[in-house]
């Protein structure tokens, strides 16, 4: 009896010692949930690839969302790992990781679409800015522009250069900012020069009429006449209505536009006559031809300016507008006169006389033709 009991006890003990640990181990082995490491690894890899292939300036929301989902999955994983091993549930983590991977995989395509549009816009803006620059450049050296506009132009050029540099370095956001500023500066300058010229060339038909009339009179009266084209910087000598000679001329510093008052350094536009031929001690420029500025039209315009308060009431209309020597400097430097180099002045001086018509106009050609001329 005692032996049987002992045997039973032994069987029970063996069962306890062997089976219980085996059962526990089995429960833990088969009951432990599979960790979501593969899903997270895939998501992490997709995010890393996307981040390394996409420029930082074009990272789409999808990739940011993917990173957030991945981080959330990691937080949940840590939280689940804090629980008792058999109570852990990784299904939510798997869902988050799979979604993160999907978003990360879609990101390069989205970024590519965004970048294509962005780069196309940037390239188009750069082209526009270059076009503005070319247009300004075409006229820039010929026009007396205010210092503020000169400054704006050089700033615009510098910013455009920086924008192009940043584009080459793939700093797209900085490129965009620089380009916006460059565009603003260059557009302002282009608008300013365009408005200046459009206003200026509004008188073209009148100038043409003056010139036609001058040539006709030269032909009818068998006389000599001078036509000055300010924009071209040329002086044309007509004899009996036929063009004989062309000279280069230099004008007042602010040559563009009509002369309004004394000291504005503008060269007047109008039909004038030579009133005096000066030489020797009569002039400091070896030779000079005094014009009858101001004529009646100049006086009328000056009075109107005073009335309109566009000219200061203390201003004077000015006088002593001449065609004189001392030119050939290659710059518009006079106080409003027309300057030729001394040799050409001497030649012209010989051909004209007191009473010769001198017609000074802004341009003989329309703006569209003028801007086609090569840069001097």
């Amino acid at each position: 009896m005692a032996r049987r009991l002992k045997r039973k006890y032994r069987i029970a003990l063996i069962s306890f010692v062997v089976l219980i640990p085996l059962t526990i181990t089995g429960i833990f082995y088969w009951g432990t949930p599979e960790p979501p490491d593969q899903e997270l690894e895939k998501a992490n890899s997709a995010i890393a690839i996307a981040r390394n292939t996409i420029s930082p300036d074009f990272i789409p929301q999808a990739l940011r969302d993917a990173a957030v989902l991945y981080d959330s999955a990691m937080v949940y994983w840590r939280t689940e790992n804090e629980k008792f091993i058999l109570k852990r549930n990784y299904s939510k983590i798997r869902t988050l990781a799979i979604r993160a991977e999907q978003l990360a995989l879609a990101s390069p395509k989205i970024a590519n679409q965004n970048s294509v549009g962005f780069l196309a816009a940037i390239e188009s803006d750069i082209e526009k800015a270059k076009k503005d620059t070319a247009q300004i450049e075409q006229l820039y050296s010929r026009l007396p522009l205010p210092t503020s506009i000169n400054k704006k132009y050089s700033q615009g050029l510098l910013l455009l250069n920086e924008a192009i540099q940043n584009l080459e370095q793939k700093n797209y956001k900085v490129c965009r900012t620089k380009l916006e500023s460059a565009k603003a500066n260059l557009s302002d300058v282009a608008r300013h020069t365009q408005n200046l010229l459009t206003d200026y060339f509004a008188n073209l038909s009148m100038w043409k009429r003056w010139v036609d009339q001058t040539i006709k009179e030269s032909s009818q009266n068998q006389s000599v006449a001078i036509v000055v084209d300010k924009f071209a910087g040329k002086c044309f000598l007509y004899k009996n209505g036929v063009l004989k000679t062309t000279y280069d001329v230099e004008l007042g510093k602010n040559w563009i536009g009509e002369k309004k008052y004394s000291g504005d350094k503008a060269t007047p536009e109008g039909k004038y006559k030579i009133t005096k031929k000066k030489d020797g001690r009569q002039t400091k420029y070896s030779l000079a031809l005094l014009l009858n500025y101001p004529n009646d039209e100049d006086k009328r315009r000056f009075q109107e300016g005073i009335r309109n308060k566009t000219i200061h009431r203390n201003a004077k209309i000015g006088s002593l507008i001449e065609i004189h020597g001392g030119g050939g400097k290659g710059v518009n430097w006079t106080d409003g006169c027309v300057a030729l180099d001394n040799d050409q002045m001497a030649a012209l001086y010989r051909l004209v006389s007191v009473g010769t018509t001198v017609t000074i106009v802004g341009s003989l050609q329309p703006l569209t033709e003028v801007i086609k001329r090569p840069k001097p």
């Binding site: 490491d37 390394n52 050089s154 510098l158 920086e162 940043n166 290659g330």
Partner: protein, 197 residues
């Protein structure tokens, strides 16, 4: 006797089962996280973006490996600890490289500013002597305006340096130097022509 032996084996076995779970390497994880944060503090993401991305990838991967190990019935963090230590060391290298790159950019910018100052001095001198020749006064005025723009730009570069915006300061200084060099070349050519005459 046999019973005692079996009991002992069972107890040791169970003890080994539970002792098999190693301690979570919290210290190493914290150290690695802190090291990566430190690289962000020195703007490694701006100065050495590729290295920074690689570091981030490395940290993310090793943290996932740590959690994977923790999810197991028998965790063994030996490899992960080694990886965490390596990541911490890598972060230190990245931080050093970022600091070095920043310093290099600062020095380059400072050198560019010195060169710009020299060029500007020469440019101003040549501009004063430049003939009002065929290019005309308007061209010289345009150059003067460009020089003024460069001077304003130099002020902006200094402001950026002061506010630690080194990358933009470096890029702007480079562009300004190019511009100043361009003007210098232009003026030098003009002056050479004058001398020939």
């Amino acid at each position: 006797m046999k019973i005692k032996l079996l009991s002992g084996v069972a107890i040791v076995g169970l003890a080994l089962v539970f002792a098999g779970c190693q301690k979570y390497p919290q210290t190493e994880v914290d150290a690695a996280n802190a090291a990566v944060e430190a690289t962000r503090a020195v703007q490694a993401n701006l100065y050495v973006p590729e290295e920074f991305n690689a570091l981030q990838d490395s940290l993310t991967t090793v943290l996932a490996a740590v959690e994977k190990e923790k999810s197991k019935l028998f965790s063994n963090y030996k490899d992960e600890v080694a990886k965490l230590t390596a990541t911490t060391a890598m972060a230190q290298t990245v931080a050093n490289n970022a600091t070095a790159k920043k310093e290099q950019l600062k020095q380059e910018t400072a050198a560019n500013l010195v060169e710009i100052a020299t060029l500007m001095e020469q440019n101003k001198e040549m501009l004063a002597k430049a003939p009002k020749g065929k290019e005309g006064k308007a061209a010289l005025e345009a150059i003067a305006a460009e020089l003024a723009t460069i001077e304003t730009g130099v002020g902006e570069v200094n402001n950026k340096l002061a506010s630690d915006d080194i990358i933009n300061a470096a890029n702007q200084a480079k562009a300004l130097k190019e511009k100043a060099t361009g003007i210098n070349t232009e003026l030098t050519e003009v002056m050479a022509k004058v001398k020939k005459r």
